[in-house]
Symmetry: C3
Subunit: 341 residues, 3 copies
């Protein structure tokens, strides 16, 4: 149990109401509980706020709200304040910092302080681990992989040899990092697979969701820039280069050698063909297929992707198309009549 004023201090907020109120946990605003704290984003939900059962709510500095008798903490960024509050109320379990006796590890493992290697992991020769690394059960780390401090790899992840992973990276279960890319050379009906001698560089603070695949480069490296966040089931092909701070939603696929700038946003199930460049800050709507290079700052959608505004106008027009066919038929008849006269 901690007081509202304790939380407010930790998240740099101002209390409106009872600073001595005791808080036991976080809760949703809609399904709130007494003794718990929730948050309200700027975008609205004022009706839900009015009826909430939570005892305290983190809200925006300047938002106007109906009176509901709840204690408020006003902050600059309520969502961020709430994240910090979760960390306060649900402190993360300290890592044990031990190598489980069923882990298969060579004596030559170079590893920092407080490293946790879980049961049934397999870590090959030449691996280097930073401080506070966590390797989940059943994961495989190939030869000469380097993993930076604070990185957390969940259960049943597969990391092939000679991959470079930065600090504070998080890789969820089932992801596969470092398989050879899909490079084929065909001759006489035989498809020869390109042996991939390149690698992968994953920057600091990258998130890789569950069941993702990132292929190694053919000769050069596949690159995922720092702060880039990948959702689940994403496919990143060989020699793709992704900049900093990109947000890539679930089931996106990026084909070989394409280059993404910084802070690119790809919504769910987007496809990017190979060998193109996507400029900084580009936003691609869900389900789109990007077939050619895109300049910085564009918002695009469609298959093939084009300017989103254009796409919307075309979508509206298509709905009128069956009727348009009738209208043109009518005009043709009218013209025919005129010509007869």
């Amino acid at each position: 149990l901690i007081t509202v004023s304790h939380i407010a201090q930790a998240i740099d907020g101002q209390v409106e109401g009872d600073p001595e109120l005791l808080i036991s946990d976080v809760c949703e605003l809609k399904n709130g509980s007494e003794g718990c704290i929730s948050y309200l984003t700027q975008q609205g939900f004022k009706d839900i706020f009015a009826d909430t059962d939570s005892s305290a709510v983190i809200v925006d500095q300047n938002i106007q709200l109906p009176q509901n008798g709840k204690t408020l903490i006003r902050v600059n960024n309520p969502a961020l304040g709430f994240i910090k509050t979760i960390h306060l109320l649900r402190p993360q379990v300290k890592l044990i910092g031990e190598i489980h006796n069923t882990a298969v590890v060579t004596e030559k493992l170079v590893s920092g302080a407080n490293v946790t290697i879980s049961a049934n992991t397999v870590i090959e020769v030449g691996v280097v681990l930073g401080d506070d690394v966590y390797i989940g059960p059943g994961s495989f780390i190939g030869q000469n992989v380097q993993i930076g401090s604070g990185t957390r790899i969940e259960a049943n992840v597969s990391i092939y040899h000679d991959i470079y992973i930065g600090n504070n990276v998080h890789i969820d279960s089932g992801s596969v990092i470092g398989a050879d890319g899909f490079g084929l050379v065909s001759e006489g009906g035989i498809h020869h697979r390109f042996p991939h001698v390149g690698s992968i560089e994953i920057g600091n603070d990258v998130l890789i969701g569950a069941n993702c695949c990132i292929d190694r480069g053919t000769i050069g490296n596949t690159i995922v820039g720092e702060q880039t966040k990948l959702d689940n089931q994403i496919q990143i092909a060989h020699n793709v280069q992704i900049g900093k701070g990109c947000i890539i939603a679930g089931q996106v696929g990026i084909a070989g050698s394409s280059v993404l700038g910084n802070y690119v946003t790809l919504a769910g199930q987007v496809g990017i063909v190979g060998h193109i460049e996507i400029g900084d800050g580009v936003v691609v709507a869900s389900k789109s297929a990007v077939m050619q290079s895109v300049e910085a700052g564009c918002f695009i959608s469609g298959i093939p992707a084009q300017d989103h505004g254009e796409k919307r106008r075309q979508d509206v027009a298509i709905k009128k198309l069956p009727e348009l066919l009738k209208r043109v038929k009518y005009l043709e008849n009218e013209i025919k009549k005129f010509k007869k006269d």
Copy 2:
């Protein structure tokens, strides 16, 4: 070897032909084999029936068929009758009900009768297993997970902590249940990941295919209702709520907080955006992207999805569009001529 009459009794059918015929196995109707039994659905395939080499066929009560000298079993639902016949002829291997000596399990594991824990599994503290549970090789079950009776988890599945799984659930290999959702709060170019303190509730008789991902709720729970069946490579985001008896085909993605009613059908590669509601019995055609809430009973398709009939009419019209452009050009010329006169 069992007799046709034995099968007929088990599946509540009437024999037409030789009840004492001995059957050794099931087979396809098309590639039938002597001594084997196949089935014919109502939808047709009468030509294949006429030429089949199988010795007996399970058919619909009322279907009219050409004479081919084969023994028939007439039932209400041939496919269901055939499923029961497979179970008769290929009885499932009884589980061994043992914990393999390479499984990493704590002494405190609470487990029902006849539980099988395969080689190289890792089961963390606080896990509770019902009767007749099977955990396949290499799977990981996190802290405090509860798994109901008769549930079968195949090889290399990853289940994070504090997940609730019902009875008779089947989870195929490579699936990842309980990773944190893709909730980010961005400030100053930094994307902070939301710590997910919610969980997942998977109802009784749910099927989760291979390499699926179901993310845990941010605060509340992600829910998959009883009897819902998921094919392979499906992505269910945080706080999604899926009703009862839904059928979700391969490579579907459902974004955060969306709500599906009961008996919804999503065909392959469908995408559902976040924060919308899909009513009971909605059918979404393959490859569609559902961008807004849908009322119960609708059949929709397209990107963005709309009424399927409308979509079909538009598709037909689009095929006429290149020619329509010429027709309008012709009309414009005619009008120009008239105006000149």
Copy 3:
């Protein structure tokens, strides 16, 4: 270090320049390094060639190139020559040919010469392995699986029981081979899953990328023909039959019982509905949905897929559609005026 003439001899090429030049490694043409060799495909990149820092370049027999002082090896197929050169300069590590002491293997395992079974694998009874097979860490091989000589299965692969895998097959991490297909029979709100008694046949020289799923046949077998290559995250449903030499890109899904001919190419994120036939040599553009059977040799695209040329013409026409609506409106007004007169 090997000489250019040594490489030229190995790849059946003619040296242009210094045959005694020593080469230490392969490199990219663009980011070339001294002492290294790269290659130039016929398609161009002559500017990059002019500026390259690599010391030698494998080029086409007949290509005209600017003088840049580099040593050339002229061959028939530069990409294929480069693949052979990689094998020369980066010889593959010889397999150890041992069974790791943490592998769970029965005494009855039938296995050829020089088989490597890595740490924490689980191999069930009745498995038969050819010569030079490699099974990666954490992989699971179910009962009675047969794996041909030279086949390589990476880490954390799951192969269910009774699957037939040919020679020189490569399966990347996280793939799941042999789960039951998504066959449901519904009655009274209950979806009964079809017990799958069929199997899977994977031909020689097949490639299966990471996190793919191939479901077993309901009664007959799912088939992947020899020389067919699958990228990552591909879903092959039950009873699908794929011919020889097909190339299937990432995130493709093929629904149940569909049949692909030989040398079919499916680009990324394509969907194929169930129960259709795709003829030999068909090419399907990325993101397309194939909804009906396709004759041999066609190039198709779109949702639903149609002739690619038609599709392109329609796409061009759609861009003119918003303006076309205005043009028709104008014509209607003109006609109205004429009729008034």
